[in-house]
Structures are given as structure tokens and as C-alpha cells.
Amino acid sequence: MAVCPECEAEIELKEAIKGEIVQCPDCGVELEVVSVNPVELAPAPEEEEDWGE
């Protein structure tokens, strides 16, 4: 069980692979698996797209 660095949601990860990109179920941020055993997640580099008005 890993924790989202942005919102602390618990993220279930079956056999996570280093470098894999996962999405946080609560805040939707894209996360990169930076290490395994224990699994650690860091915000994946994302291009800043505009949203809204």
C-alpha cells in the first residue's frame, strides 16, 4: 500500500514496477513509482495544460 504525496490517499499497487505511472484515485494526480520495496511515489512530470475559462 503506497500513499499519494499530494493528498495522502492510500493507493493499492499490485507488483509496482519502477518508473511506472499511476493515477491517484482521489486527487487524480499522475504519480511515478520512484522506488519499490517499499513502494514510493512522486508526482510525475506533467505538461501544464490550461483548463477552464
Binding site: 493528498c7 493515477q23 482521489d26 486527487c27 487524480g28 494526480v29 499522475e30
Partner: protein, 346 residues
């Protein structure tokens, strides 16, 4: 279980009727409407066509039932509550007549003393997320103001944990046209109401009393400054609340508090999403559902936290909440009859 409705021709009464017709544990008793007595309910509620041949009856012909939904104009149920209590084991009053616990609040906020202060003690403020236990043994379960419900559910975790300054709470609700009810008026005339962004109550007070009552924790009552703006919606409310944090909390801390309070609640969703079109709570996709969505954003340069909350004023803001409270009071699964998820796109 037999359930009847007093005041079934309005929007809240009609929505209650729609939900109760689809509720597996409910046998529908009577639906009263003085002006429409003898008419088919579907003549007023067209979505009920081919679903029921029920006719409105007069309230004089009300027969005993387990639960009685009351959806009457302001001031009516106050006088007639004893009559309703004689007919039903439990009364779910969607109106405003029994919402405030302190009799002194009625002249102060509604301009007239309460007609039956003796009954106030039996009434429980009917939002299950706030008073689940008390609702289980209550004979009078009150509805809650739709704007108040939105604001209370948006801010509850912050005041329950004493995180926000109670002296500076500014709330602006954007509301749809169904909130004013089924009665037509000059200002609801389509050419006048359509595409309105209308500041119809910049310094609104009506719902403040409930919000202050329900957000009082540890003897501290927050001062809430309300504003209401009509927007291009029929159903739906978006409350934008500005609160000021006592400590310099990060968004992670806010997530923790909201998850702690709302994580297990079937109808409360924390909506704060980095991707997609609907990143913060938005009323239109909640139409017909019993959800209240809550989101927030920290204002980096200051101690301000903006909290956004949305719901359907006829569902979680009225009839849906009533059915949810009935489920709690009668020991049913709380989501029974309230499974509809809302539509997208709409």
C-alpha cells in the same frame, strides 16, 4: 411500510413521491394536495406518467401511516404538527418550521414566535451526516434549508476540528430556479429569468441561523455572511465559501480532515481533481442524485481556504435527504432508493 405525503403537488413533494414510488420498502399511502384533490398525480408530475394512477386527496382524508412526508409552505406545518403526529409514527417535515432548536430564534430570524414551542424538543435536524443517532429515535425529523445544507456540509470538518476563524466566513451560493418552488412569478417568467446571473439577495439572511446552529462546536458559533445569486440552472446549488485558517495548513492536511469526516459517507464525495473537465464540485451532474460534492483550494499567498460544495436542491437539499433520513429512522440500508448516480453529460 406505508408512507404518505402532505403537500404533494410542489417540487419537493413531487420529488419525494418519485423517490418513494421507487423505494423497495415503501407502499405509497396517500398524497394530499388541496388545490389538486381528485386529479391524477401525473397531471402535475409528468415524469410519473404510466408509473402510477394515484390521485391527490385532501389532507382531511389522511389515514394513519408509518411515515408522513410534509412539504407545505412556510408556517403551515407548525400549526398542524399535532394532527400529523396523530396520524403517523414519524413525520419528516421538509419545510422550515421546526429547524431551529431555540424558540427565541424564530422571532429573530423568521419574524414571528413559534406556534408550538412545546413540540420543538421532539424535532431533530434531519441531516443524517450530522445527527444519525438522534434521527433513529426522533418523531419529528426536520428537513434542512437547501442552501444551508450545502454550506454546512462544505464547512463542517473545518469547524468540528476548530481549524477556521469563526468570525470571518463569507459564502456565496449560486442557485437554480427550482429553489423558488412551483409557483410562477414575474421574476420567474422565462424571458426575464432565462440566462440570468442575478444578485437577488446580496446580503441574504434566511439560512444563516441553521448554518450557525449546526456549525457550533465547543461553544463557538461561527458568524456566516451569506449572498445568493441566481444562475442558469433549474436544479442545483454551488456554494463558494471563503474561510480563513487559524494555522498555515497544507492541502494535504485539509484532505486528511475531510477524508476523516466524509471518507465513509455514502453520499459525500471529496471532489478535487487534477485532471478532467469536472475538477471541482459542479451541480448539473448531480441532478437527481443524493450526492453532495465538496472540494477546496488553498490560497497560497494568504490564510484563505476556498471551499466549494454542490448538490441538487430538490434531492440532498430536500426530498433525497428526507428519504435518507427515513432509511436511517426505519433501520433500512441508508442508500436504499437513492442509488441514482446523476447524468453525464447533461
Amino acid at each position: 411500510m406505508k408512507v404518505s405525503i402532505v403537500g404533494g403537488s410542489g417540487y419537493a413533494g413531487g420529488e419525494s413521491l418519485r423517490l418513494l414510488l421507487g423505494h423497495p420498502k415503501v407502499t405509497l399511502g396517500q398524497v394530499t394536495s388541496e388545490s389538486n384533490a381528485g386529479k391524477y398525480v401525473h397531471s402535475v408530475h409528468p415524469n410519473l406518467r404510466k408509473r402510477t394512477d394515484l390521485k391527490f386527496v385532501s389532507a382531511l382524508d389522511l389515514e394513519p401511516c408509518e411515515v408522513l412526508f410534509v412539504a407545505l409552505p412556510h408556517g403551515s406545518s407548525m400549526k398542524r404538527m399535532p394532527e400529523f403526529l396523530s396520524v403517523a409514527e414519524r413525520v419528516i417535515d421538509l419545510g422550515a418550521d421546526f429547524r431551529l432548536r431555540d424558540p427565541a430564534d424564530y422571532p429573530k430570524w423568521y419574524g414571528a414566535p413559534h406556534a408550538r414551542p412545546d413540540l420543538l424538543g421532539q424535532a431533530v435536524y434531519g441531516i443524517p451526516e450530522l445527527h444519525r443517532e438522534a434521527i433513529k429515535s426522533a418523531r419529528i425529523i426536520t428537513g434542512a434549508g437547501c442552501n444551508a445544507t450545502t454550506t454546512i456540509l462544505g464547512l463542517l470538518p473545518l469547524f468540528k476540528h476548530g481549524l477556521a476563524d469563526p468570525s470571518r466566513v463569507v459564502v456565496e451560493v449560486k442557485v437554480g430556479s427550482s429553489e423558488a418552488g412551483a409557483k410562477a412569478s414575474d421574476s420567474s417568467h422565462h424571458p426575464e429569468r432565462s440566462h440570468a446571473v442575478r444578485s437577488f439577495q446580496p446580503t441574504m439572511h434566511r439560512h444563516t441561523a441553521e448554518v450557525m446552529q449546526e456549525l457550533t462546536f465547543g461553544g463557538q458559533t461561527p458568524k456566516v455572511y451569506f449572498s445568493a445569486t441566481a444562475v442558469e440552472l433549474v436544479r442545483g446549488i454551488l456554494a463558494t465559501c471563503h474561510v480563513f485558517l487559524k494555522d498555515n495548513l497544507a492541502e494535504k492536511d485539509i484532505w486528511r480532515v475531510y477524508r476523516q469526516e466524509y471518507g465513509q459517507e455514502p453520499f459525500l464525495r471529496i471532489v478535487k481533481d487534477r485532471t478532467g473537465i469536472y475538477r471541482y464540485p459542479e451541480p448539473k451532474i448531480l441532478a437527481g442524485s443524493n450526492f453532495c460534492d465538496v472540494g477546496f483550494e488553498r490560497d497560497e499567498g494568504s490564510d484563505r481556504l476556498v471551499v466549494m460544495a454542490a448538490l441538487d436542491n430538490l434531492m440532498k437539499g430536500a426530498a433525497g435527504n428526507g428519504v435518507q433520513a427515513m432509511n436511517v429512522a426505519c433501520g433500512f440500508e441508508e442508500t436504499l432508493g437513492l442509488e441514482f448516480l446523476g447524468l453525464h453529460p447533461i
